[in-house]
Protein backbone atom coordinates (compact mmCIF):
# COMPACT_ATOMS: atom_id res chain seq x y z
CA UNK A 1 0.00 0.00 0.00
CA UNK A 2 2.79 2.37 0.91
CA UNK A 3 4.62 2.00 -2.38
CA UNK A 4 1.45 2.55 -4.44
CA UNK A 5 0.70 5.74 -2.52
CA UNK A 6 4.25 6.91 -2.92
CA UNK A 7 3.95 6.48 -6.68
CA UNK A 8 0.70 8.43 -6.85
CA UNK A 9 0.94 11.24 -4.34
CA UNK A 10 -2.01 12.98 -5.97
CA UNK A 11 -4.31 10.07 -5.17
CA UNK A 12 -3.08 10.01 -1.60
CA UNK A 13 -3.74 13.75 -1.27
CA UNK A 14 -7.22 13.50 -2.81
CA UNK A 15 -8.03 10.51 -0.63
CA UNK A 16 -7.01 12.29 2.53
CA UNK A 17 -8.88 15.45 1.64
CA UNK A 18 -12.09 13.87 0.41
CA UNK A 19 -12.11 10.77 2.57
CA UNK A 20 -12.35 8.76 -0.62
CA UNK A 21 -10.20 6.14 -2.25
CA UNK A 22 -8.80 5.02 1.08
CA UNK A 23 -7.38 1.56 0.90
CA UNK A 24 -8.68 -0.82 3.51
CA UNK A 25 -6.02 -1.97 5.96
CA UNK A 26 -4.53 -5.28 4.99
CA UNK A 27 -5.87 -8.13 7.08
CA UNK A 28 -3.85 -9.46 9.94
CA UNK A 29 -2.10 -12.70 9.03
CA UNK A 30 -3.66 -15.83 10.49
CA UNK A 31 -1.98 -18.57 12.48
CA UNK A 32 -0.03 -20.67 9.96
CA UNK A 33 -0.72 -23.78 12.08
CA UNK A 34 1.48 -26.32 13.86
CA UNK A 35 5.12 -26.79 12.84
CA UNK A 36 4.47 -30.55 12.83
CA UNK A 37 1.45 -32.71 13.71
CA UNK A 38 1.28 -33.06 17.49
CA UNK A 39 3.63 -30.11 18.05
CA UNK A 40 3.67 -28.87 21.63
CA UNK A 41 1.33 -31.55 22.97
CA UNK A 42 3.45 -31.95 26.11
CA UNK A 43 3.56 -28.25 26.79
CA UNK A 44 0.31 -27.86 28.64
CA UNK A 45 0.59 -30.88 30.84
CA UNK A 46 -0.43 -30.05 34.38
CA UNK A 47 2.50 -30.06 36.81
CA UNK A 48 2.34 -32.90 39.34
CA UNK A 49 3.62 -30.74 42.18
CA UNK A 50 0.82 -29.16 44.19
CA UNK A 51 1.28 -25.41 44.45
CA UNK A 52 1.96 -23.90 47.86
CA UNK A 53 1.83 -20.26 48.85
CA UNK A 54 4.16 -17.86 47.07
CA UNK A 55 7.48 -17.78 48.94
CA UNK A 56 9.03 -14.62 50.34
CA UNK A 57 12.56 -13.60 51.24
CA UNK A 58 13.44 -12.92 54.88
CA UNK A 59 12.91 -9.19 54.41
CA UNK A 60 9.44 -9.68 52.93
CA UNK A 61 10.23 -9.23 49.25
CA UNK A 62 8.64 -11.81 46.97
CA UNK A 63 11.00 -14.71 46.22
CA UNK A 64 11.24 -15.51 42.51
CA UNK A 65 13.84 -18.23 43.02
CA UNK A 66 14.25 -21.58 44.76
CA UNK A 67 15.25 -25.06 43.66
CA UNK A 68 13.92 -25.07 40.13
CA UNK A 69 13.44 -22.88 37.08
CA UNK A 70 10.76 -21.00 35.19
CA UNK A 71 9.79 -22.59 31.92
CA UNK A 72 7.52 -20.64 29.57
CA UNK A 73 7.30 -23.22 26.78
CA UNK A 74 6.61 -22.10 23.23
CA UNK A 75 4.14 -19.21 23.22
CA UNK A 76 4.70 -17.97 19.69
CA UNK A 77 2.45 -14.89 19.60
CA UNK A 78 2.18 -12.45 22.49
CA UNK A 79 -1.14 -11.10 21.21
CA UNK A 80 -3.02 -14.39 20.60
CA UNK A 81 -4.24 -17.10 22.96
CA UNK A 82 -3.38 -19.77 20.41
CA UNK A 83 -0.52 -19.87 17.91
CA UNK A 84 0.96 -22.71 15.86
CA UNK A 85 -2.01 -24.70 17.09
CA UNK A 86 -1.13 -24.55 20.81
CA UNK A 87 -1.63 -22.26 23.80
CA UNK A 88 0.10 -18.92 23.39
CA UNK A 89 -0.42 -15.73 25.44
CA UNK A 90 -3.04 -15.51 28.19
CA UNK A 91 -5.19 -12.95 26.37
CA UNK A 92 -6.00 -11.84 22.85
CA UNK A 93 -5.02 -8.23 22.13
CA UNK A 94 -6.05 -6.08 19.19
CA UNK A 95 -2.57 -4.81 18.45
CA UNK A 96 -2.51 -1.11 17.45
CA UNK A 97 -0.14 -1.64 14.53
CA UNK A 98 1.33 1.20 12.54
CA UNK A 99 1.16 0.37 8.81
CA UNK A 100 4.80 -0.72 8.63
CA UNK A 101 4.57 -3.06 11.61
CA UNK A 102 1.40 -4.69 10.27
CA UNK A 103 3.09 -5.19 6.91
CA UNK A 104 6.21 -6.55 8.58
CA UNK A 105 4.23 -8.84 10.86
CA UNK A 106 2.28 -10.28 7.94
CA UNK A 107 5.45 -10.84 5.94
CA UNK A 108 7.10 -12.63 8.84
CA UNK A 109 4.10 -14.91 9.36
CA UNK A 110 3.94 -15.59 5.64
CA UNK A 111 7.64 -16.46 5.38
CA UNK A 112 7.59 -18.59 8.56
CA UNK A 113 9.82 -16.17 10.49
CA UNK A 114 12.83 -17.06 8.36
CA UNK A 115 14.66 -13.88 9.37
CA UNK A 116 14.17 -14.38 13.11
CA UNK A 117 17.25 -12.96 14.86
CA UNK A 118 17.02 -15.55 17.62
CA UNK A 119 17.42 -18.30 15.02
CA UNK A 120 20.79 -16.66 14.30
CA UNK A 121 21.73 -16.91 17.98
CA UNK A 122 21.17 -13.22 18.67
CA UNK A 123 19.66 -12.29 22.05
CA UNK A 124 16.00 -13.12 22.52
CA UNK A 125 15.06 -9.64 23.73
CA UNK A 126 12.35 -8.51 26.12
CA UNK A 127 9.51 -9.52 26.59
CA UNK A 128 10.03 -12.46 24.24
CA UNK A 129 11.92 -14.57 26.77
CA UNK A 130 8.71 -14.80 28.80
CA UNK A 131 7.09 -16.47 25.77
CA UNK A 132 10.03 -18.57 24.59
CA UNK A 133 10.77 -22.29 24.96
CA UNK A 134 13.87 -21.91 27.15
CA UNK A 135 13.96 -22.15 30.94
CA UNK A 136 15.39 -19.35 33.04
CA UNK A 137 16.05 -18.49 36.67
CA UNK A 138 15.82 -15.26 38.66
CA UNK A 139 18.41 -14.55 41.34
CA UNK A 140 17.71 -11.64 43.68
CA UNK A 141 20.33 -9.65 45.54
CA UNK A 142 19.81 -6.42 47.48
CA UNK A 143 20.14 -4.23 44.42
CA UNK A 144 19.74 -6.50 41.40
CA UNK A 145 17.56 -9.18 39.91
CA UNK A 146 19.67 -11.37 37.66
CA UNK A 147 18.00 -13.46 34.98
CA UNK A 148 20.03 -16.38 33.66
CA UNK A 149 18.83 -18.19 30.57
CA UNK A 150 19.54 -21.55 29.06
CA UNK A 151 18.66 -20.28 25.60
CA UNK A 152 20.52 -18.32 22.93
CA UNK A 153 24.18 -18.32 23.87
CA UNK A 154 23.49 -19.03 27.55
CA UNK A 155 22.36 -15.44 28.01
CA UNK A 156 22.07 -13.30 31.16
CA UNK A 157 20.19 -10.12 31.97
CA UNK A 158 20.53 -7.72 34.91
CA UNK A 159 17.68 -5.65 36.31
CA UNK A 160 19.05 -2.93 38.56
CA UNK A 161 16.79 -2.31 41.55
CA UNK A 162 16.27 1.42 42.02
CA UNK A 163 13.06 2.75 43.60
CA UNK A 164 13.80 6.10 41.93
CA UNK A 165 13.57 4.31 38.58
CA UNK A 166 16.41 6.22 37.02
CA UNK A 167 17.98 5.10 33.76
CA UNK A 168 21.51 6.06 32.87
CA UNK A 169 21.91 8.99 30.51
CA UNK A 170 22.95 8.36 26.93
CA UNK A 171 21.86 4.75 26.74
CA UNK A 172 23.57 2.67 24.12
CA UNK A 173 20.96 0.85 22.01
CA UNK A 174 20.91 -2.83 23.00
CA UNK A 175 18.95 -6.07 22.50
CA UNK A 176 17.86 -6.35 26.13
CA UNK A 177 17.60 -2.66 26.96
CA UNK A 178 18.43 -0.89 30.20
CA UNK A 179 16.27 -2.37 32.95
CA UNK A 180 15.48 -0.61 36.22
CA UNK A 181 13.13 -2.24 38.72
CA UNK A 182 11.37 -1.83 42.03
CA UNK A 183 9.04 -3.88 44.18
CA UNK A 184 5.38 -2.94 44.59
CA UNK A 185 4.16 -5.31 47.27
CA UNK A 186 4.49 -8.79 45.79
CA UNK A 187 5.15 -7.51 42.29
CA UNK A 188 8.47 -6.76 40.65
CA UNK A 189 7.99 -3.83 38.29
CA UNK A 190 10.67 -3.29 35.65
CA UNK A 191 11.00 -0.28 33.38
CA UNK A 192 13.04 -0.98 30.26
CA UNK A 193 14.25 1.36 27.56
CA UNK A 194 17.34 1.84 25.39
CA UNK A 195 16.52 -0.86 22.85
CA UNK A 196 18.14 -1.27 19.44
CA UNK A 197 14.82 -1.95 17.62
CA UNK A 198 16.10 -5.22 16.16
CA UNK A 199 14.53 -7.76 18.53
CA UNK A 200 11.13 -9.27 17.78
CA UNK A 201 8.49 -9.24 20.50
CA UNK A 202 7.71 -12.89 19.75
CA UNK A 203 8.45 -15.73 17.35
CA UNK A 204 5.50 -14.76 15.15
CA UNK A 205 7.23 -11.48 14.36
CA UNK A 206 5.75 -8.44 16.11
CA UNK A 207 8.36 -5.79 15.34
CA UNK A 208 9.90 -3.12 17.56
CA UNK A 209 11.60 0.21 17.01
CA UNK A 210 14.34 1.91 19.00
CA UNK A 211 11.61 3.96 20.72
CA UNK A 212 10.43 0.84 22.56
CA UNK A 213 9.67 1.38 26.22
CA UNK A 214 8.42 -1.51 28.34
CA UNK A 215 6.81 -1.76 31.74
CA UNK A 216 7.01 -5.33 33.00
CA UNK A 217 5.17 -6.69 36.02
CA UNK A 218 6.20 -10.03 37.55
CA UNK A 219 3.99 -11.54 40.27
CA UNK A 220 4.47 -15.00 41.78
CA UNK A 221 0.89 -15.82 42.65
CA UNK A 222 1.75 -19.21 44.18
CA UNK A 223 4.88 -21.35 44.40
CA UNK A 224 4.35 -22.76 40.89
CA UNK A 225 3.04 -19.73 39.01
CA UNK A 226 4.54 -16.52 37.65
CA UNK A 227 2.07 -14.03 36.21
CA UNK A 228 3.52 -11.60 33.71
CA UNK A 229 2.13 -8.40 32.26
CA UNK A 230 4.06 -6.22 29.87
CA UNK A 231 2.99 -2.86 28.52
CA UNK A 232 4.51 -2.11 25.15
CA UNK A 233 4.85 1.59 24.48
CA UNK A 234 6.57 2.01 21.14
CA UNK A 235 5.44 5.07 19.17
CA UNK A 236 7.81 4.04 16.39
CA UNK A 237 5.90 0.80 15.85
CA UNK A 238 2.42 1.01 17.42
CA UNK A 239 -0.16 3.80 17.54
CA UNK A 240 -0.72 3.48 21.29
CA UNK A 241 0.57 1.42 24.23
CA UNK A 242 -0.78 -2.10 24.57
CA UNK A 243 -0.41 -4.86 27.11
CA UNK A 244 0.36 -8.57 26.71
CA UNK A 245 -0.04 -11.28 29.35
CA UNK A 246 1.39 -14.68 30.09
CA UNK A 247 1.56 -17.28 32.84
CA UNK A 248 4.82 -19.12 33.33
CA UNK A 249 5.08 -22.37 35.31
CA UNK A 250 7.73 -23.37 37.82
CA UNK A 251 9.59 -26.61 37.17
CA UNK A 252 10.74 -27.91 40.57
CA UNK A 253 14.31 -29.21 40.63
CA UNK A 254 15.11 -28.04 37.11
CA UNK A 255 18.68 -26.82 36.65
CA UNK A 256 19.91 -24.96 33.60
CA UNK A 257 22.24 -26.64 31.15
CA UNK A 258 24.84 -24.81 29.12
CA UNK A 259 23.37 -24.19 25.69
CA UNK A 260 25.51 -22.45 23.08
CA UNK A 261 23.35 -21.70 20.04
CA UNK A 262 26.37 -20.49 18.11
CA UNK A 263 28.00 -23.91 18.35
CA UNK A 264 27.85 -25.37 14.87
CA UNK A 265 24.85 -23.23 13.92
CA UNK A 266 23.85 -24.33 10.44
CA UNK A 267 20.09 -23.93 10.49
CA UNK A 268 19.47 -20.32 9.62
CA UNK A 269 21.03 -20.49 6.13
CA UNK A 270 18.49 -23.17 5.22
CA UNK A 271 15.50 -21.12 6.35
CA UNK A 272 13.96 -19.99 3.08
CA UNK A 273 10.38 -19.27 4.07
CA UNK A 274 7.13 -20.78 2.92
CA UNK A 275 7.55 -22.79 -0.26
CA UNK A 276 4.08 -24.41 -0.15
CA UNK A 277 2.40 -21.94 -2.50
Amino acid sequence: MMSRMARFPGILCLGVVCGLAQQPNPKLAKDPGPFLPGFGAEQDRVPKTVAGPAPHLVDGRPDFGGNGAWFPGFNGNIAETKWKGIKSADRHVDVPFLPWTLKTFNERVENLSKDDPEARCLPVGVPRFMFDPYPFQMIQTADQVIFVFEGDNYLWRIVQIDPQGKHANDLKPTWLGDAVGHYEGDTLVVDVTGFNGLAWLDQAGHATSDKLHLTERYTRTDSMTLKYEVTIDDPGAYSKPWTAYNTVRWRPGMELMENICQEDEKSSRHMIGNVKK
Binding site: G65, R120, C121, L122, P123, I139, T141, Q144, I146, V148, N153, Y154, L155, W156, I158, Q160, K172, T174, W175, L176, L256, M257, E258, I260, Q262, E263
Partner: protein, 211 residues
Protein backbone atom coordinates in the same frame (compact mmCIF):
# COMPACT_ATOMS: atom_id res chain seq x y z
CA UNK B 1 25.32 -8.55 81.05
CA UNK B 2 22.19 -8.38 78.93
CA UNK B 3 23.90 -6.04 76.50
CA UNK B 4 26.91 -8.28 76.39
CA UNK B 5 24.74 -11.27 75.43
CA UNK B 6 22.96 -9.23 72.83
CA UNK B 7 26.23 -8.13 71.26
CA UNK B 8 27.48 -11.71 71.19
CA UNK B 9 24.23 -12.89 69.59
CA UNK B 10 24.31 -10.09 67.04
CA UNK B 11 27.94 -10.82 66.26
CA UNK B 12 27.12 -14.50 65.82
CA UNK B 13 24.25 -13.66 63.50
CA UNK B 14 26.49 -11.36 61.53
CA UNK B 15 29.13 -14.09 61.16
CA UNK B 16 26.42 -16.53 60.16
CA UNK B 17 25.03 -14.14 57.59
CA UNK B 18 28.40 -13.43 55.97
CA UNK B 19 30.73 -16.28 56.78
CA UNK B 20 32.87 -15.86 53.69
CA UNK B 21 34.56 -12.99 51.88
CA UNK B 22 32.33 -10.90 49.68
CA UNK B 23 33.51 -11.09 46.06
CA UNK B 24 30.32 -9.69 44.60
CA UNK B 25 30.74 -6.91 42.08
CA UNK B 26 32.48 -6.23 38.81
CA UNK B 27 36.07 -7.39 38.22
CA UNK B 28 38.52 -6.82 35.40
CA UNK B 29 41.23 -9.39 34.67
CA UNK B 30 44.65 -8.29 33.53
CA UNK B 31 45.27 -9.16 29.88
CA UNK B 32 47.57 -12.14 29.48
CA UNK B 33 47.71 -13.25 25.87
CA UNK B 34 50.16 -16.12 26.40
CA UNK B 35 49.96 -18.00 29.68
CA UNK B 36 53.02 -20.05 28.71
CA UNK B 37 55.46 -17.19 29.18
CA UNK B 38 55.76 -17.61 32.95
CA UNK B 39 57.68 -20.86 32.74
CA UNK B 40 58.24 -24.03 30.77
CA UNK B 41 54.94 -25.49 29.62
CA UNK B 42 54.96 -29.29 30.06
CA UNK B 43 53.71 -30.00 26.57
CA UNK B 44 53.16 -33.45 25.24
CA UNK B 45 54.67 -33.53 21.73
CA UNK B 46 51.31 -33.35 19.90
CA UNK B 47 50.18 -30.45 22.10
CA UNK B 48 53.35 -28.49 21.30
CA UNK B 49 52.74 -29.01 17.59
CA UNK B 50 49.09 -28.06 17.99
CA UNK B 51 50.04 -24.92 19.92
CA UNK B 52 52.41 -23.88 17.13
CA UNK B 53 49.67 -24.51 14.56
CA UNK B 54 47.14 -22.50 16.55
CA UNK B 55 49.58 -19.63 17.03
CA UNK B 56 50.17 -19.52 13.28
CA UNK B 57 46.46 -19.71 12.40
CA UNK B 58 44.66 -17.24 14.61
CA UNK B 59 41.80 -17.21 12.11
CA UNK B 60 40.83 -20.60 13.57
CA UNK B 61 40.27 -19.03 16.97
CA UNK B 62 36.63 -19.78 17.83
CA UNK B 63 36.58 -16.71 20.08
CA UNK B 64 36.53 -14.70 16.85
CA UNK B 65 33.37 -16.56 15.86
CA UNK B 66 31.68 -15.50 19.08
CA UNK B 67 31.93 -18.83 20.83
CA UNK B 68 32.68 -18.81 24.57
CA UNK B 69 36.38 -18.34 25.35
CA UNK B 70 36.28 -21.16 27.90
CA UNK B 71 38.10 -21.57 31.20
CA UNK B 72 40.63 -20.28 32.17
CA UNK B 73 41.04 -18.12 29.05
CA UNK B 74 38.06 -15.97 30.03
CA UNK B 75 40.00 -14.93 33.16
CA UNK B 76 43.01 -13.77 31.13
CA UNK B 77 41.12 -11.41 28.83
CA UNK B 78 40.65 -7.77 29.80
CA UNK B 79 36.86 -7.84 29.69
CA UNK B 80 34.87 -7.21 32.86
CA UNK B 81 32.75 -9.80 34.59
CA UNK B 82 30.46 -9.71 37.60
CA UNK B 83 30.41 -12.17 40.49
CA UNK B 84 27.02 -12.75 42.12
CA UNK B 85 26.96 -14.70 45.39
CA UNK B 86 23.73 -16.51 46.09
CA UNK B 87 22.94 -19.08 48.76
CA UNK B 88 23.94 -22.26 46.94
CA UNK B 89 26.10 -21.08 44.05
CA UNK B 90 28.18 -18.29 42.61
CA UNK B 91 27.32 -16.80 39.25
CA UNK B 92 29.90 -15.29 36.94
CA UNK B 93 28.37 -13.00 34.31
CA UNK B 94 30.75 -12.12 31.48
CA UNK B 95 30.47 -8.94 29.44
CA UNK B 96 32.86 -10.15 26.79
CA UNK B 97 33.02 -13.29 24.74
CA UNK B 98 29.58 -14.56 23.91
CA UNK B 99 27.68 -12.76 26.73
CA UNK B 100 27.63 -16.03 28.65
CA UNK B 101 27.38 -16.84 32.34
CA UNK B 102 28.81 -19.58 34.45
CA UNK B 103 27.68 -21.18 37.69
CA UNK B 104 29.86 -22.52 40.47
CA UNK B 105 27.94 -24.84 42.76
CA UNK B 106 28.70 -24.22 46.45
CA UNK B 107 26.21 -26.73 47.87
CA UNK B 108 28.64 -29.60 48.39
CA UNK B 109 27.67 -31.57 45.33
CA UNK B 110 30.19 -33.59 43.30
CA UNK B 111 30.83 -33.42 39.58
CA UNK B 112 28.48 -35.61 37.54
CA UNK B 113 29.85 -39.05 36.62
CA UNK B 114 29.68 -38.34 32.91
CA UNK B 115 29.40 -34.59 32.39
CA UNK B 116 28.42 -33.07 29.07
CA UNK B 117 31.44 -31.63 27.28
CA UNK B 118 30.74 -27.93 27.79
CA UNK B 119 32.45 -24.70 26.76
CA UNK B 120 32.61 -23.55 30.40
CA UNK B 121 32.69 -26.92 32.14
CA UNK B 122 30.99 -28.12 35.30
CA UNK B 123 32.20 -26.18 38.33
CA UNK B 124 32.01 -26.86 42.05
CA UNK B 125 33.53 -24.60 44.66
CA UNK B 126 34.42 -24.38 48.32
CA UNK B 127 36.16 -21.98 50.66
CA UNK B 128 39.63 -22.61 52.06
CA UNK B 129 39.86 -19.82 54.59
CA UNK B 130 39.36 -16.66 52.59
CA UNK B 131 40.22 -18.33 49.29
CA UNK B 132 37.55 -19.49 46.89
CA UNK B 133 38.59 -22.73 45.24
CA UNK B 134 36.75 -23.71 42.06
CA UNK B 135 37.17 -27.15 40.58
CA UNK B 136 36.00 -27.63 37.00
CA UNK B 137 35.80 -30.60 34.64
CA UNK B 138 33.53 -31.55 31.74
CA UNK B 139 35.06 -29.37 29.04
CA UNK B 140 34.87 -29.83 25.31
CA UNK B 141 38.22 -29.72 23.49
CA UNK B 142 37.32 -26.79 21.25
CA UNK B 143 38.46 -23.85 23.36
CA UNK B 144 42.01 -22.61 23.77
CA UNK B 145 43.53 -22.03 27.20
CA UNK B 146 44.61 -18.52 26.15
CA UNK B 147 44.69 -16.13 23.21
CA UNK B 148 48.04 -17.60 22.11
CA UNK B 149 46.41 -20.97 21.40
CA UNK B 150 47.46 -23.46 24.10
CA UNK B 151 45.29 -26.50 23.36
CA UNK B 152 43.61 -28.93 25.72
CA UNK B 153 41.60 -32.13 25.61
CA UNK B 154 38.31 -33.20 27.18
CA UNK B 155 40.39 -34.48 30.11
CA UNK B 156 41.04 -30.89 31.16
CA UNK B 157 40.65 -30.36 34.89
CA UNK B 158 41.02 -26.80 36.14
CA UNK B 159 41.47 -25.67 39.73
CA UNK B 160 41.08 -21.91 40.20
CA UNK B 161 41.90 -20.07 43.39
CA UNK B 162 40.52 -16.59 44.04
CA UNK B 163 41.96 -14.64 46.96
CA UNK B 164 41.05 -11.05 47.65
CA UNK B 165 44.23 -9.25 48.61
CA UNK B 166 42.72 -5.81 49.10
CA UNK B 167 39.53 -3.83 48.51
CA UNK B 168 40.36 -3.46 44.84
CA UNK B 169 42.52 -6.49 44.15
CA UNK B 170 42.13 -10.23 43.70
CA UNK B 171 44.86 -12.79 43.20
CA UNK B 172 43.92 -15.44 40.65
CA UNK B 173 45.79 -18.68 40.42
CA UNK B 174 44.89 -21.55 38.16
CA UNK B 175 46.19 -25.11 38.03
CA UNK B 176 45.86 -26.69 34.59
CA UNK B 177 45.71 -30.44 34.77
CA UNK B 178 45.21 -32.16 31.43
CA UNK B 179 46.90 -35.56 31.12
CA UNK B 180 45.74 -35.66 27.49
CA UNK B 181 47.86 -32.65 26.50
CA UNK B 182 50.48 -31.96 29.19
CA UNK B 183 52.90 -34.25 31.02
CA UNK B 184 52.04 -32.80 34.43
CA UNK B 185 49.89 -30.08 35.86
CA UNK B 186 51.10 -26.47 35.68
CA UNK B 187 50.10 -23.26 37.37
CA UNK B 188 49.49 -19.78 36.02
CA UNK B 189 48.52 -16.58 37.82
CA UNK B 190 46.79 -13.31 37.07
CA UNK B 191 45.47 -10.33 38.97
CA UNK B 192 41.91 -9.06 38.89
CA UNK B 193 40.96 -5.45 39.65
CA UNK B 194 37.71 -4.53 41.36
CA UNK B 195 35.69 -1.91 39.49
CA UNK B 196 33.87 -0.24 42.38
CA UNK B 197 30.34 0.70 41.36
CA UNK B 198 30.96 -0.82 37.95
CA UNK B 199 28.15 -2.04 35.74
CA UNK B 200 28.41 -4.52 32.91
CA UNK B 201 27.38 -3.40 29.46
CA UNK B 202 25.69 -5.43 26.76
CA UNK B 203 28.31 -6.35 24.20
CA UNK B 204 27.01 -8.85 21.64
CA UNK B 205 29.87 -10.31 19.65
CA UNK B 206 27.53 -11.55 16.92
CA UNK B 207 26.45 -7.98 16.20
CA UNK B 208 29.91 -7.43 14.77
CA UNK B 209 30.05 -10.45 12.47
CA UNK B 210 26.47 -11.43 11.50
CA UNK B 211 25.65 -8.80 8.95
Amino acid sequence: MKWCCLIIILAALRIDAQPHPDFSGVWLPGAVADIGLEGAVPFQPWARTKFQENSAAKQNDLDLRCLPPGVPRISFQARPFEIVQSSNRLLFLYEGGAHVWRQVWMDGRSHPQDPNPDWLGHSIGHWEGDTLVVDSVGFNDKTWLDDAGHPHTEQLHVIEKYTRTGPLAMKYEVVIDDPGAYTHSWTVGNSLSFLAGGRLEEDICLDKISK
